[in-house]
Symmetry: C2
């Protein structure tokens, strides 16, 4: 096995992270977000349901992988790290009521002479639990802990050319999966059969380029369910008439290109068609703004202005960065396309503009994943941009 | 939409949880584990990537759902809760650098008059982050916080008849998916094509009973990769000769029946066949012990005795309870089949005996999901129990 990127690219990432650490005043950061672990080292495996992390210390030449003994071998297979920086914890600490793997992490940090370090942790990373933090801080009473503010997530914001290759492949896989789903949808077809088609297409990929598992399962609210975004499928047949919303991603080497489309079974009421047109017009306004030098807030404002013109509005943010991701979320948890976000866009950033409008009784979403370029947002997928009517 | 269980069953669950709370000295518990949220209320949606929870207070007739405004409607659709106990937090708090949704959770708890309560939180639930805990405790300075020790997870250990129906359906789906994978495996077939087949079969289910998404993606280490358990697939073709290990689950209404099988492409060396026989013999010894009144440790000891007889041993635990689950794990994080675990088995408990042996250069796992019954462990799946040789 080998890492998905060159050794030079990992070195460049590490150097960028150390510069950010220096600026923020950290000797050591502890990364439990699986995407940060993978981005820093290549580590890849479905082991994030147990405590594990990657450490970056200013004076250490490579990161350190810390995880379950069973999984240390995966680290040898999938990372570029030297053996001394792959450190397993004892199996007996798995789901132990008293002991915790981070007791041994604290020991490791002390053993390396970093017991008094200024340590930045990912306070809000999904798997960095309250108990992880409690055991770690107890085990390192002389260290100075603070939130590193998603430091590595922010370092991931601009994608390299090699990453953009995966993003574009992910986009092609997503196009294929969405079109396969649309082809399968007919009144009377059980919902799960549409989803089976999607999973198959997501994984088969296109032209010999296989797909990977997505950080979020296919989301497919139906009928009144389209008024809320995160419902999943049932055994029920698709109705003869009504809305279906589908949000999925194409995934290549863990890089995600998400997409949402809204379908209407049978003739669509004019009101719904009008909302769909406003949404697409709004997305286009947002894409036109997605150029280096503009802010995340300006992209949102461009979209919101179009919506306002059509008498609509969206309360929640309209988008977020995408790239390398693991369950439960394909968003990178840094910038948001929303009022007040002054993040300045740069070429190579990738976003999902989740241009959905959720109203009292129904919702319409027609989104795009895009790369920021000098010419505005370059779309990663190519699926009909309209309310898709299935007769 | 409707809840998957009767109102009476939810009432019984709540009553059991309140009894446990009383015994443990809690006025209020806060459950962020999505499986606990679903088990208590019916709530179902892929929204667990943002802070959300279910509260149970001794004096409140039903639980309270607290989550993102966008998802509150999903709570109205999927739970039995009255509208006053579905409480949304403000969209602006999503991934906010300063504010946090749990600031509003603290407000809610104070507003209900519970600011001085004895509160049990799930310190090690995957999504209960260090930051969730920090904001919550800061917002409730007069409350007394402690770890509730997975109180609701423990309440879930014995399954009801209605739950066992889903577990058995999940088992049938798993059988179908595993057999589909085996049929697809041939030397030269790209790994992702086998996985596409699995996803399709997992979701299509059997006889009109559709499958749901699994808490863990299909795990398929190949060749030397079988020496570590959590690797996923690549684009590489299956080799002409060598081992493949596959761990998947069938899932019905979020209830999981996991299963592992080991395949050998081409003629298998005798050493590997011998390990496989020892593993199956060990599982049978464990299943025979899985009767009410015996302990989790006794099941492990029965398995380990067989292994020892064949000159093998396993360091890590040999199994865990399964049932309702969401990503990233289908284990229930309570009892473990391992030395020292004195949990007394009862009829209706369900376990996955993960009877894998991971050696220096390869691994062999032939597992079973089972229900504890008077006659020993009742297997939930029906797939050939041997090293499966694919010529």
């Amino acid at each position: 096995m080998s890492t998905p990127f060159s050794r030079a690219e990992y070195a460049q990432r590490l150097s960028q992270v150390k510069t950010r650490m220096d600026k923020a005043g950290f000797d050591l950061i502890i990364c439990q977000d699986p995407a940060n672990m993978g981005w820093l080292t290549g580590y890849d495996g479905w082991s994030f349901y147990v405590p594990q992390c990657v450490l970056v210390h200013q004076e250490e030449e490579t990161p350190i992988w810390f995880g379950r003994a069973q999984d240390a071998k995966s680290a040898h297979f999938t990372t570029y790290l030297p053996a001394r920086n792959i450190v397993p914890f004892s199996e007996k600490l798995i789901q132990h009521p008293v002991g915790h793997p981070y007791d041994e992490l604290a020991e490791l940090i002390r053993a390396r002479g970093w017991g008094k370090a200024r340590i930045g942790v990912e306070m809000d990373a999904h798997y960095y639990t309250a108990r992880c933090h409690a055991h770690l801080t107890k085990g390192l009473p002389e260290a100075r802990f603070s939130n590193n503010g998603d430091l590595v997530n922010w370092a991931r914001l601009v994608k390299s050319e090699a990453e953009l290759t995966f993003m574009r492949e992910a986009g092609r896989i997503c196009t294929h999966a969405m079109n396969s789903a649309i082809a399968k949808m007919k009144p009377g077809v059980p919902q799960y059969q549409v989803i089976a088609e999607i999973y198959h297409a997501q994984t088969m990929g296109v032209g010999g380029i296989g797909g990977d598992y997505a950080a979020i399962c296919p989301l497919m609210p139906v009928g009144e369910g389209t008024s809320t975004p995160h419902l999943t499928w049932t055994d029920e047949p698709l109705p003869n008439s009504g809305l279906v919303m589908l949000e999925i991603a194409g995934v290549r080497r863990r890089y995600h290109a998400p997409l949402t489309r809204t379908m209407h079974l049978g003739k669509a009421p004019k009101e719904i068609g009008d909302v769909a047109k406003a949404v697409v017009e709004g997305v286009d306004a947002g894409l036109a703004k997605a150029r280096p030098g503009n802010t995340a807030a300006e992209v949102e404002a461009a979209w919101q202005a179009v919506l306002r013109k059509h008498g609509l509005k969206k309360e929640s943010r309209v988008g977020y960065p995408v790239g390398l991701a693991y369950p439960p979320d394909w968003g990178e948890r840094t910038a948001s396309l929303r009022p007040g976000d002054e993040t300045v866009l740069d070429a190579g950033m990738c976003f999902h503009i989740q241009s959905g409008v959720w109203l009292a009784d129904f919702g319409v979403a027609i989104s795009e994943s895009f790369v920021v370029t000098d010419k505005g947002g370059e779309r990663l997928t190519d699926v009909a941009r309209e309310l898709i009517v299935i007769d």
